[in-house]
């Protein structure tokens, strides 16, 4: 027998569900009517059509305008993933250091870090991004590029590094080295086999095809050859890392402060130094409190990376916008965008969630 409150809850939930379904139905119907009026059809066949546009940063995923739109989207996805992965790792590292420094006994250091964190944290990310992008334009033009080491050039076209052309035997050598090093312990007294195998593989690979190092050269407008780290990537990465690390530093500070004072005192009583206390007692405990929040920060970094289009970095959103504009399939590209960002976010959240569960299983939690 149900109480009146239960019945009311069921009624309200049913009503909510009904309203949601009606809104979804209305949106879908509206969309299909509007599309039919314009003679447009939904479908993903356009992904196989040639892209007919060029992409700036493609790394080693070769891309030409004759390739399909699907491939262009993969390049965009890779760029988004690259920025997100690098950004997440760097933001956690920088944020960790900043958070610990905020707790330093030195008031000048503490104040300095606090000021930096507050400035970055209270500035809109887009502003920071545009500011950094504009600052990188102040670098010298390619003809007056800074070249601290031979083959390395820093100009307003980005950081150009020498490319290492890897032959097939070089890959064999690397694999042999990895296998030899992992087997080293098991080999026991015959440990010399490992370095010998490496040396042999190195000899063969050098003989067959020495790894060529291609340095870039200025030809016409730009550097040709080598690997270019574009200013857009640098600005985007720097802005994301700065912005997110400011937030992460607060998380770290809060987590460290949440560690009961008694544990520190106990560590002190055992004769541990400040650094030892931090490293062996405080941080392992604080880590458990901060991991879920770090996951949240990583997820928001991934989503923030979609601001890339403002400064011209070809991330997923930028390429999907172009594809949607050019083919008229805006709804499909929007769907792809939603699915990809949702998957990326869930992936990161679940990975860090597992790490968190692992932490919780091993050792004590706070309080």
């Amino acid at each position: 027998m149900r109480s009146a409150a239960d019945r009311r809850a069921v009624l309200l939930q049913g009503l909510g569900l009904g309203v949601t379904a009606a809104v979804v139905w209305w949106l879908a119907r509206n969309t299909s009517v509007s599309l039919a009026q314009r003679g447009l059809t939904l479908g993903f066949a356009f992904l196989r059509h040639p892209a007919n546009f060029e992409i700036g940063d493609t790394w080693w995923l070769s891309f030409s305008p004759a390739d399909s739109i699907g491939r262009a989207i993969v390049v965009g996805l890779f760029n988004t993933a690259l920025v997100s992965a690098l950004g997440c790792v760097l933001a956690i590292a920088v944020g960790f250091v900043a958070g610990i420094l905020r707790l330093s006994p030195n008031p000048a250091l503490r104040g300095l870090v606090r000021a930096a964190v507050e400035i970055v944290r209270n500035t809109p990310l887009l502003l920071l991004l545009l500011f950094l992008a504009a600052s990188l334009h102040a670098l010298p033009p390619p003809k007056q590029a800074l070249s601290p080491v031979r083959g390395v050039f820093l100009s307003d076209r980005g950081l150009v590094l020498p490319a290492v052309a890897i032959g097939r035997w070089t890959i064999v050598f690397v694999l042999a080295a990895v296998v030899a090093l992992t087997l080293r312990r098991r080999l026991g007294t015959r440990w010399w086999i490992a370095p010998a195998a490496c040396a042999a593989a190195a000899f063969v690979s050098a003989l067959v095809r020495p790894p060529a190092i291609a340095t870039a050269q200025l030809e016409g407008f730009n550097f040709v050859g080598g690997v270019t780290l574009s200013p857009e990537l640098a600005a985007l990465l720097a802005a994301l890392v700065l912005h997110q690390s400011a937030h992460i530093s607060e998380v770290v500070r809060g987590a460290v402060l949440a560690v009961p004072r008694g544990q520190r005192d106990a560590a002190g009583a055992l004769g541990m130094s400040r650094w030892q206390t931090l490293r062996l007692v405080v941080i392992p405990v604080a880590l458990r409190a901060m991991v879920p929040l770090l996951a949240t920060n990583c997820v928001s970094l991934i989503k923030n990376s979609s601001l890339a289009v403002a400064i011209g970095f070809p991330d997923l959103v930028s390429i999907l916008n172009t594809a949607g504009n050019q083919t008229g399939h805006s709804i499909e590209t929007m769907l792809i965008m939603i699915v990809v960002y949702l998957s990326l976010s869930l992936l990161v959240a679940s990975a860090l969630g597992r790490y968190n569960a692992h932490l919780l299983r091993s050792g004590t939690a706070i309080s």
């Binding site: 509007s34 545009l130 992008a133 504009a134 990188l136 033009p141 040709v224 011209g312 930028s318 008229g328």
Partner: protein
């Protein structure tokens, strides 16, 4: 065109029954509506030189003047026109819903637009094409010299496509930097991040004025795409389409005859029979339109011929400084060619 997220807003335009096609005999429903209203409603898109309000709030520009020409032809008054500014997304919905009588807002004629949507294009009144803006210091004078260059573009419907097609056709390579906002592209060109900006020629002239030292930059003469600009009207009202057709052609024909805003009055005494027919001094040329017999003369006096309109809004005397280029008369090596008024 409202695909994407603004779907809900699009349904209002649907009801094709509301379009003025349910005609009453041979009369043109749009013309009757305009006459009843006492003003033409003209859809424009804001842009320097093409449509901008001046400091007194009066609309000025190349597109605006063509709208005023319609008002003069109908009412002999260049102010009997209401300007409705649209974004590129809203423009077709505005026309289809009957909110405006015509669009004169830089719409390019393309086959897919002409076939997919329910409207007709008027005569081409501006020939544009995608081009390049470069720093003078780069010493680049032709687009083909841009091999290996970094080119900034604003994300748009066909800008990237045209640029890529051009590069593939000419077997050159380029590095695109695709910005969402034009201002970011301008700052990238000024900062030296890009060797060139690529967009429509008229847009480049405007973009050039956005730079701190416009004199240090130059628009290359090459055009890598065809962007024929025409007025747009709804389908199903042929008589209105004819009015738009011939009013847009009159300034071109006037320039060909050497009739301009200042000397038009002198032509009242002319003995040249073709000019007399054109100016309505002799009947027959445009009787079927249902306009004042001397509407061409009024248009020339109150708005001007093509050269007057071009020079006033876009020409070398303006900050835009656009070269006539393809928009010269066919007799001067351009593409402007009006069918005869006879």
């Amino acid at each position: 065109m409202c695909v994407g997220l603004g779907i809900a807003a699009c349904t209002t335009e649907s009801a094709p029954g509301a379009s003025p096609n349910e005609s009453n005999g041979g009369a043109t429903p749009t013309l009757s509506a305009v006459r009843a209203r006492g003003a033409v409603k003209c859809g424009i898109t804001e842009g320097a030189g093409f449509a901008t309000p001046d400091d007194a709030g009066r609309w000025r520009g190349f597109d605006v003047d063509f709208c005023r020409a319609i008002a003069v032809a109908l009412f002999n008054d260049p102010d009997k026109v209401q300007f409705i500014p649209y974004t590129q997304e809203q423009r077709f919905s505005g026309l289809q819903s009957g909110e405006v009588d015509l669009l004169a807002n830089g719409t390019t004629i393309t086959s897919s637009r002409a076939l997919r949507q329910s409207f007709h294009f008027g005569p081409i009144y501006f020939y544009d094409g995608q081009g390049f803006l470069v720093a003078k210091s780069s010493k680049v004078t032709r687009a083909s010299q841009l091999d290996g260059a970094t080119i900034c573009v604003q994300q748009g419907t066909t800008t990237e496509l045209n640029l890529t097609d051009f590069a593939r056709r000419n077997k050159i390579t380029f590095h695109p930097v695709v910005m969402e906002d034009l201002r970011a592209a301008v700052s990238a060109l000024a900062g030296g991040r890009c060797d060139a900006i690529s967009q429509d020629g008229a847009g480049l002239a405007t973009t050039r004025t956005m730079l701190q030292r416009p004199g240090d930059y130059v628009v290359l003469p090459d055009r890598i795409s065809k962007e024929p600009i025409a007025a747009v009207v709804r389908t199903g009202d042929d008589a209105w389409l004819e009015i738009v057709n011939w009013v847009f052609r009159a300034p071109v024909q006037a320039e060909e005859y050497g009739i301009d805003q200042h000397n038009a009055a002198q032509f009242a005494e002319t003995t040249d029979p073709s000019i007399r027919r054109f100016l309505g001094l002799e009947p027959g040329a445009t009787d079927g339109l249902g306009l004042d017999p001397q509407w061409t003369l009024h248009v020339i006096e109150k708005v001007g011929n093509y050269k007057d309109i071009f020079d006033r809004n876009l020409g070398p005397a303006t900050p835009l400084g656009i070269d006539r280029g393809l928009n010269k008369l066919w007799t001067d090596g351009g593409l402007l060619y009006s069918p005869p008024f006879r």
